[in-house]
């Protein structure tokens, strides 16, 4: 076979072309249907419902236009929940990523038993968030919790049921704990992918371990870091519901009521479906904006 048998495209992309439209349609159908059923339909419903106020008995509802939104934006509790969410998601993201990176760096330094550490460090990820919540709740339970008891012995009176800061701390730790495993895996894989010779070149250039870490390794990890940043923020926003519900139920005094939890408590507990729906819509917009911002401003810098 000669070299000229097939024309080489300048960029060797694998591109498949279909003749008809039926097969491609079938291939994308599952994705489209799932998105439609579980995303577009509920999102549409939320937008629709956010324009109504149901009567106290839930028998009828009245069209109110944007009144729900107007009310929300003027509501100090709702604005407080925004701040809570910002603090909570920042803390969760940091608490989930920094220890993970540190552990990954340490495991990467090991020559021999890195595999063992890796396996052990993955385990927390297998624990469901709500279960993790219960676990941490038991440890910090004001009456029977092990950690709370030890803190008491040290003269510290732990009470996350009353103390807002402690409540926030506990839900942050409980939320971040399992994520450390997840982040660790990504950081570890990324570290292993950093070419040895680049590290060696930096060592010969005179950089010691931590200097190398900050000037060479960390920049090379930035695509992974960025990816994890997005994923962890989304996690902190949406997937920490179970943890908060089991540990604090949003309390004390709404101190741990993040936006998602407020959607739940106003909608299902308070039965204010219109407001709840409006909150969902706002949440959707906020996360959408955040993601767009992240991609627009950070992504450009992380690819070298």
């Amino acid at each position: 076979m000669g070299a000229g048998d097939r024309p080489l495209t300048p960029r060797m992309e694998k591109r498949v072309t279909f003749k008809g439209w039926l097969l491609p349609l079938c291939l994308i159908a599952p994705q489209v249907i799932i998105s439609a059923v579980f995303f577009f339909y509920p999102a549409g419903q939320a937008v629709w419902q956010s324009l109504f106020i149901p009567d106290p008995f839930g028998l009828s509802s009245q069209f109110v236009g944007l009144e729900n939104f107007e009310y929300l934006l003027g509501d100090p509790y709702y604005r407080a929940s925004f701040i809570t969410t910002a603090i909570f998601s920042t803390l969760v993201t940091l608490a989930a990523m920094i220890p993970a990176l540190f552990l990954a760096v340490m495991a990467d330094r090991l020559v021999k038993s890195a595999g063992v550490y890796r396996t052990l460090l993955i385990w927390p990820y297998a624990v469901a968030p709500a279960v993790a919540g219960v676990l941490w709740l038991f440890m910090f339970n004001t009456r029977v919790g092990v950690v709370a008891w030890y803190l008491g012995q040290l003269g510290y009176d732990w009470n996350h049921v009353l103390n807002e800061g402690e409540a926030m701390g506990l839900v942050v730790v409980a939320s971040a704990w399992g994520r450390i495993s997840y982040n660790f895996l990504f950081f570890f894989a990324a570290l292993q992918a950093v070419p040895r010779s680049i590290i060696e070149a930096a060592a010969i250039d005179g950089a010691r371990f931590w200097r190398r870490f900050f000037t060479i390794v960390l920049p090379l990890l930035s695509p992974t870091t960025f990816f994890l940043l997005v994923v962890n923020i989304v996690y902190a926003f949406f997937e920490t519901f179970g943890v908060i519900h089991t540990i604090t139920s949003g309390g004390p005094q709404q101190a741990t009521t993040i936006l998602v939890y407020k959607v739940f408590s106003d909608g299902f507990v308070g039965q204010d479906l219109g407001s709840s729906a409006a909150q969902s819509v706002i949440l959707l917009v906020v996360v959408g904006l955040l993601t767009v911002l992240q991609f627009k401003y950070i992504e450009k810098r992380v690819h070298y």
Binding site: I198, A202, A203, I204, D205, R208, Y304
Partner: protein, 351 residues
């Protein structure tokens, strides 16, 4: 600028000994090429000098002081890697200036040195590019630039040209050599290419399975190979080696009788470089030519001796010898006959 002394250096990875005791004194400003086949331990030896591998046994001295336990950053060396190992997130200028920045030099001074090196290596136009926007040859230059801006005591090169095409390789070979001579910095250069070794080295270390078979100038190694391995590794096409026996004042190869200048007796290995053979109707060597390769300036004849061993001759000029097993008489000057011990492979003429 410094001497590098290796004193019976050994390296073991677990139970396997990869470097089995190498000693060499490299003089200040000398260009040493470490050459040998794949897996013989060249990189390992170089990496021990760099401090990237620990030295299992023996002593390494750089500039007269023991360096065994120094970290790479404390040895004042620079290394050019086979894959260049450029920092992908830094521009060319940042790559070259990294070591100086770590050393804490003022910005202006770094910029000046980088500019100087860039001019020397014709990189001035490319200083703002990232490594991935460069061609292989340009990356190679950046790696060189990164090594020279620091003005280290010793340069280490691990097959820096093996990713380049043949023409660029020849050009870069010269450039590296010129640059090193101009800067006067001691260099250790690893390659598996014997042409590179011959053309670049002040002295070369021919390595085989963790042993330095011979240390000497290229011409030394070519003219007086210390072992069968060195004899066959250096020179292209490689030396013919045939079994011979010294008996009755002659050297017998099969039933051919060659002169026996040193008067050895008993079985030996006889080495004859293809280019030292000359056609001679009365010559003692009879070769059956199976294949000719006319290269223009010379002609390679491949075939075999009457005893069946493969044999190659390289004759100057054009020779129209038939392919089909035509016999050709050859002779060789006595000073071009290399004798090696039949068991150890060591060179025999003891003078």
């Amino acid at each position: 600028m410094a001497t590098v002394e290796l004193d019976n250096i050994k390296k073991r990875f677990g139970p396997t000994e990869v470097i089995k005791g190498v000693s060499v004194d490299v003089e200040d400003g000398e260009f040493i090429v470490i050459v040998g086949p794949s897996g013989c331990g060249k990189s390992t030896l170089l990496r021990m000098v760099a401090g990237l591998e620990t030295i299992t046994e023996g002593e390494l001295r750089i500039g007269g002081t023991r360096a065994n336990d120094l970290e790479p950053m404390d040895r004042d060396i620079a290394m050019v890697f086979q894959n260049y190992a450029l920092y992908p997130h830094m521009s060319v200028a940042q790559n070259m200036g990294y070591g100086l920045r770590i050393a804490g030099l003022p910005k202006a001074e770094i910029a000046a040195k980088v500019q100087g090196a860039a001019k020397l290596l014709q990189l001035a136009e490319l200083l703002d590019r990232k490594p991935k926007q460069l061609s292989g040859g340009q990356r190679q230059r950046v790696a060189m630039g990164r090594a020279i801006v620091r003005e280290p005591k010793v340069f280490l090169f691990d097959e820096p040209l093996s990713n380049l095409d043949a023409k660029l390789r020849v050009q870069m070979r010269l450039e590296i050599r010129e640059l090193q001579a101009k800067l006067g910095i001691t260099a250790l250069y690893v390659t598996h290419d014997q042409v590179e070794a011959m053309t670049m080295a002040d002295r070369m270390i021919v390595m085989n399975e963790g042993i330095a078979e011979q240390i000497g100038t290229p011409l030394d190694v070519y003219e007086r190979p210390a072992s069968l391995f060195a004899a066959q590794f250096i020179g292209s096409p490689s030396m013919n080696v045939v079994r011979a026996e010294g008996r009755d004042g002659a050297l017998h190869v099969g039933d051919m009788g060659l002169p026996n200048p040193t008067g050895v007796s008993g079985p030996v290995m006889l080495g004859l470089r293809p280019e030292h053979l000359v056609p001679d109707a009365q010559g003692p060597i009879t070769m059956q030519v199976m294949l000719t390769e006319p290269l223009g300036a010379n002609t390679l004849l491949h075939g075999k001796l009457p005893d069946g061993s493969a044999f190659t001759a390289s004759l100057s000029g054009v020779h129209r010898v038939g392919h089909g097993g035509e016999a050709l008489r050859l002779s060789v000057a006595a000073e071009h006959m290399h004798l090696f011990d039949a068991t150890s492979g060591a060179r025999m003429d003891g003078d």
